[in-house]
Symmetry: C2
Subunit: 409 residues, 2 copies
């Protein structure tokens, strides 16, 4: 038999094949991982044991008999939690559990988008969503951000412009609460303004709130979903950032006209029930205490990263210390091409996100990098930043000085 | 604010929106559920506890640090199990864990198919795959089955015909080992012949083996994948049928040229790690004993169903008692329209799969129904079949007699 050449059979326009998994790099500043030291094995195991003792036999049924929207007790807890923390009033019928929020993004896109459609997005943005839009051949109109998130004057202009051009906008994609990567929090008045504009231009809003649990102060404006009286907002969040990314439990919240269509388009036969059951058991008792511990830990790591950046890069970089979340968006002077920096860093065992992957428009993106700080220990953070400063100096002559030490040429 | 009419924004050709979940019907013969009485809470809980005690902190990393192909110890066990039970030699690098086998089907289709492509399928077939092909606007060429599964003479004719027409076939989709819905097992010589034909016509084979663990005799021919020396076979299976469908753990096996492309196309950020960890802990110690118990239980339920069908329907139906699996494919006389029967049964609280959903060509499909027998108790199976016979008699006057009792007109 002759070996089959699969490349003859592949669909067109696939992404390049993946490389074999080689483990994490020595200094890992990418990937949205969490703080391992905050995960308590005993509590999780006790919760799984308890729920299995009570209802293991229901696992013999798809979705444990709770229907395609997922485990009901977890949706009940979420309904209460979303009200308490984000002001969202939703019934359990308005929540669809997904295997993390990535499938929720894909599902929303499946329901709404086809090639040639237009979406509005924040200029600096979640790389995974930008790559999805590119793969779907969807046109992105990007809106600038300032220290308060998406600029509403720019949004209004973009909406008017699309209307003039006769283009039908499918939705405004926004990460208003700890924006990825800028970590900005959109104030209440801008949320209200976004809703007013979406209403005036008759479009939907897709609100992605993966990081909103992780705000140091615990204070946040209500979700856009909470302020929306017109049912135009679709909301997604996840337990990946508040508990652990290796458990794949996220969710979509929407009014029934949208959600019933999303459930119909879901082809994965449900999300893992043991993880949903575990969370439903864990959250009412442990979630708040766990979150407080996690937030304190993340804030400390942010402080360590900020200190290490100041020490090693000095004035060669600019950034705003984030009010929450797990990443820091760093701006370099124009002498530094961050795509080139990323490649040089990779060779030295340092993984960073180049700004171009996290930006709609490349020129500005090319001056930024995104650094995730949740999973490394403080020691690893310090060593990683020092190593990155070395690579940056070797490649661009920047930073010229680190702390009190002048670098060799 | 005006309520948004989402129907203006939906992509074209979506499936109809789903109805709100209303629970299972009184008599449930659909859905591929498993036998609840075989699930042992204590064993599962012990396994989760053990693995969490050892490595809970790794959950802070996507895929627990095992990379996008999933939890390595589970892939190690699978590599050994697939060799032992199906003759498949594969490395852990040739296994991709997925959230059940449904996402594996979607992934293979994403890598290979676009609208207008052609696939070869078995005439009676898994409804979920047929609906996928329809949604993808892929042409299906169907091959008849006999008591030994797909007919190779028909396959050869179809391949020659496609070649004449200049149509590029993407793959042959087959469920050779406990076919869904006919429960046939393709003999070794046909497997070899299918590979010979696929080689001659330069196409791929997609082997779906979800039910192969559940054969009463435990005897089965090697997987097509095991016989393939040309790397053209893609293999999928799942723990849904051998352990529980509510845990979403399935897998894809393929040589690297295909698998590296599939991993690249995967957008779900990995499958639930706690369920994979639990299985990796459970399987080496408990899988074989669990399977023996499950098989005995399923065989008993099949016997109950066969007896109930004979008793209630007599000669009004024909079927071959399946050698394994969880479903029975029942053929009615031409007087019975099974689509109409399904609707009448639904009104009486009885859910059955109409043959048309499980068939490529409707005329023959419309004489069949699929009955799943794993999840109901023996008492429920008997009551369900009796209720179905009543509905069938009321609708079509068939069966005329049940056991020793003549039915009222």
């Amino acid at each position: 038999m002759t070996a089959l050449d699969f490349s003859d059979l592949f669909a067109p326009n696939l992404p390049p094949p993946t490389a074999r998994w080689g483990g994490f790099p020595t200094h890992n500043f990418i990937g949205g991982h969490n703080a391992p030291e905050t995960i308590v094995a005993r509590q999780l195991a006790e919760c799984v044991t308890k729920v299995l003792e009570r209802e293991a036999q229901s696992l013999a049924f798809y979705n444990a008999g709770h229907g395609p929207q997922g485990y009901l007790p977890l949706r009940e807890w979420l309904s209460e939690k979303l009200d308490r923390q984000a002001g969202i009033k939703c019934s359990t019928d308005e929540i669809l559990m997904t295997s993390g929020s990535s499938p929720a993004l894909d599902l929303v896109n499946k329901v709404l988008l086809q090639p040639g459609d237009t979406v509005i997005v924040e200029q600096s943005n979640y790389g995974g969503m930008l790559s999805r839009f590119k793969r779907l051949k969807v046109d992105m109109v990007s809106i600038d951000l300032d220290g308060d998130g998406m600029r509403m004057d720019h949004l209004e202009r973009a909406l008017a412009d699309l209307k003039t051009k006769g283009k039908r906008l499918k939705y405004i994609y926004t990460i208003p609460t700890v924006q990825n990567p800028t970590a900005t929090i959109l104030p209440l008045d801008r949320r209200q303004e976004m809703l007013r504009l979406a209403d005036a231009y008759d479009t939907a809003i897709f609100e992605d709130e993966c990081y909103s649990d992780l705000i140091w102060s615990g204070e946040r404006p209500p979700a856009i979903y909470a302020l929306d009286e017109s049912g135009r907002t679709i909301f997604t969040s996840t337990f990946s950032k508040s508990i652990a990314p290796a458990i794949r439990v996220g969710y979509l919240v929407a009014k029934w006209p949208f959600l019933s269509q999303a459930v119909a388009c879901k082809t994965d036969a449900g999300s893992g029930m043991i993880e949903q059951m575990m969370l439903a058991e864990f959250c009412p008792t442990h979630f708040d205490a766990h979150l407080a511990k996690l937030i304190a830990r993340l804030q400390h790591k942010r402080d360590v990263l900020v200190e290490a950046l100041n020490e090693n890069f000095g004035t060669a970089v600019e950034f705003t210390p984030p009010p929450g979340g797990i990443f820091l968006w760093v701006r370099f002077s124009e002498k530094v091409d961050t795509t080139q920096l990323t490649q040089a860093a990779a060779k030295a065992g340092i993984a960073i996100n180049p700004g171009v992957d996290w930006s709609v428009q490349h020129p500005e993106g090319n001056r930024h990098i995104r650094l995730c700080y949740a999973s490394a220990s403080p020691e690893e953070l310090r060593a990683g930043v020092a190593a990155l400063a070395d690579v940056c100096h070797q490649t661009f002559g920047i930073p010229e000085r680190s702390a009190n030490r002048t670098r060799d040429a």
